[in-house]
């Protein structure tokens, strides 16, 4: 009798042990990007991962895959400052940081902080502001670490459902948290959030998880169910299919943005805040679509 119980215990332990056996393979992200600049720039003239005032980057390091998006605040144009300079330089600096290994995968806020500090070390007097969202996949631990400042963000989709998403950080309507460098005369009156104010999160991911990182040009025009619909069409994990899906999502958002009668999430939110608007929100759209796959060299 006792031996049967102990035998049963042994078997149970072995089975449970086998089920929870950690996967020792490294994971990686297969990522494709697509986007549209607002107005005239139709996104085909992509200037090195910049779509209008948005910018993004995809970088690999030995230990991690890192992506980022930044949405340049367009209001600077009125003061003679090119908004894409700040977001573009921020993203390129983050990319360089990652490539040189000057980061810790579990601390994506650190990437933002260091990158912002490096912008201040530039002889060129950079001006402008942008939101930022950084997503880091730690290859070995299979954990996704994210940092989000502002209203760009990410979704993690598993089995056709959203399992993780970022929260928007807004000061007030249409004024997201933003990293900025202001001219000295306007220092007090320009919104400037510290990189440490970014929201961070960490969670495990599984093979086949889909991660969508985008600027608010996407989320303000396409509600979740539409995005999920598009993602259902993703059958393969190869780069071409991901590229195709990213393109179709971005295109659809672009079309909806210019539809005057469509009740976009942006319009919905505006109505909830007492502003009677309808239609899409023309904006720069940047979409980074990634799938968690096994690491291959």
């Amino acid at each position: 009798m006792l031996s049967v119980l102990s035998y049963g215990r042994l078997v149970a332990r072995a089975v449970i042990g086998g089920l929870s056996q950690t996967d020792s393979r490294d994971y990686s992200l297969v990522t494709a990007s697509f986007g549209f600049g607002k107005d005239f720039r139709k996104g085909i003239l992509k200037k090195g991962m910049c779509y209008g005032d948005d910018a993004c980057f995809i970088a690999r390091h030995r230990s991690a895959d890192v992506l980022g998006v930044a949405d340049g605040v367009g209001g600077w144009r009125d003061y003679g400052v090119d908004p894409s300079q700040f977001s573009g330089t921020l993203m390129r600096t983050c990319e360089r940081l990652v490539k040189e290994g000057r980061f810790v995968p579990s601390n994506p806020v650190g990437i933002l902080t260091t990158s912002y500090y490096e912008l201040l070390q530039n002889k060129v007097p950079l001006l402008g502001s942008s939101t930022a969202c950084i997503v880091v996949l730690d290859r070995q631990s299979h954990r996704l670490h994210t940092a989000n400042l502002g209203d760009s963000g990410f979704l993690v989709v598993r089995g056709g459902e959203v399992v993780h998403r970022s929260d928007e950080q807004q000061h007030y309507f249409n004024t997201p948290f933003q990293l900025s460098i202001a001219p000295p005369e306007a220092e007090g009156s320009v919104l400037s959030d510290s990189p440490e104010a970014a929201d961070s999160s960490s969670f495990d991911v599984q093979l086949g998880d889909i991660i969508l990182t985008a600027t608010d040009g996407l989320f303000d025009n396409m509600p979740d169910y539409m995005i999920l619909q598009e993602l259902k069409k993703l059958k393969n994990t190869n780069y071409e299919s991901i590229q195709q899906t990213a393109k179709s999502i971005a295109e659809q958002a672009h079309i909806l943005a210019y539809d005057p009668n469509y009740m976009s999430p942006f319009a919905q939110f505006a109505c909830d805040n007492g502003l009677n608007v309808r239609g899409g929100k023309p904006d720069d759209i940047t979409v980074l679509l990634s799938i968690v796959a096994e690491y291959t060299d």
Binding site: R96, E118, Q121, V124
Partner: protein
Amino acid sequence: MLTLLSMFYYICLRRRSRSGTRGEALGSRRAVELGQRSALPVTVEVEQYAKEVLDFSSHYGSENSMSYTMWNLAGAPNVYPSSGDFTQTAVFRTYGPWWEQCSSAPQPFRRTPQNFHSQDYMELAFEEPVYPTAIDVLETYHPGAIVQILACSLNPFSQNPPADVRWEVLWAGEPSKAMTPQARQFSPSIKQISFATNLLRLEVNSSVLDYYTELDAVILHGVRERPILALYKMPIIDISDLSDSDEELADPGLCCRHAGDGKHNHGNGYFDKLPYELIQLIVSHLTVPDLCRLAQSCKLLHQHCCDPLQYIQLSLQPYWPRLSDASLSHLQSRCTLLQRLNMSWTGNRGAVTPTGFSSFMKACGGNLVCLELSCCHFLSEACLEVIAQTCPRLQELNLSSCDRLHPQAFGHVAKLPRLRRLILYRTKIEQTAILSIITFCTDLRHLNLGSCVMIEDYDVVASMLSARCRSLRSLDLWRCRNLSERGLAELVAGCRLLEELDLGWCSTLQSSSGCFQLLARSLPRLRKLFLTANRTVCDSDIEELANNCPALQHLDILGTRMVSSSSLRKLLQSCSQLLLLDVSFCSQIDSRVVQELNSLFPKVAIKKSFTQ
């Protein structure tokens, strides 16, 4: 003859078969087959980018940053072939003649050899040791600074380093200036050496350049196997090679040729007729190695060459590869009257130990007035303690870039009350030590705290300086991160004799507080003012400088958007002694304005850097 040739042919064939079996493809390197004559074996050439920057004497950027810092030299190029002032390049701290013109510059040492031009250096480690065949330096801005390339026999990544470390000069040249500031690939023809190396050292001199030189990458081409000396190409035997071992600096005392015991020495010819002082004067023109060699020639000259009066000033920096503890101990007996000693760059990788240095100091440091120890990584806290004890008369101490020195070591510097010139650029000195130094060394004239990142509160330091060091003439606070207008106001109130003030990249100073205007009004003797990358400098600051600082010679206002050409014109008119004006990245000052100002004020070098 025939047997010799056939032996040679046989050896070649053996080598060829051996290298064939050992060939492997390494992912990141491109193997290029050097097609040579069929009698000689086919060798595989390997190209490598630098893997790591191990050591350097200075750089423009911040510690822990990747903008304008030396670490950018590692890896593949980021900028080349574009030209311009980019953050992703390696930039040194100084350029041109400007720093030497300042009163804070050190006096040059006598007996510096003609062919020693190096002002800065950096050491690069590569992945794999090879016999170098070519070296490419990708310079992306104002090229021409490289003056020497050396290779080391030591593998910096090996676990057990060998006892003897050899440095061989691959190429040496004069500091030059290229025709345009555009990017170029510098590939000097290098000497063949007899050992495989993966550690290179580049020495630079930017004194003839118009602006900061910027380097992007260094490529080492080499072969894995020692190239067989081609019969038609003899290696160039350099006479200076013969003295490569420590002969002259190691055993100067040995070879005294005695003419015989008891016999009076008449054999010096005319030298016997010359007065002692005249021979001393003749010998005073020799460089140190020549002096040591001459000492070995005969008894009379040995007496002259070992006379301590010849060693009142001693610069060992040009001989940094060969200096060791043994050399120091042999020089000890001659250096008892030593007043100025330059040991910058020496003793690394174990050549000089703290014990050897300490015993040298104890023997020779009693009269020391000036001690240059820049980049001396062998220094320890004990060494500084010995210096403090044995050199009570010390007035000048340079510990620039001694970044491995423990913060506690600097406490001993406070025991040198006669200090006038103190350079602590890029050291890890902390708040308590610097305050203690300022308290006791009230004679300080020149103080360099550039890039001293461990000092927490510069306002307190400035306040202390104004209270204790009232004869301060120059102060370098490059990249001090938290000096505010309060500290600056106290500083200029107390140190009225200030002539040079470097506040480059001090981002916490705001012009709106009036601190720069106060500065201009308080320092009438001001000759050098660097406000590099302080984005708040405005027209009223420039006008105050124009009104109050007629002696101004060097001004750097890089990166401000708020200075217009009219205030600059006023400045140039009032400050007739102005020689350097850096208006790079000042958005209101475009190249047309610069040209106009250049034509009106031709004496002034107006610098406008560009990125594209």
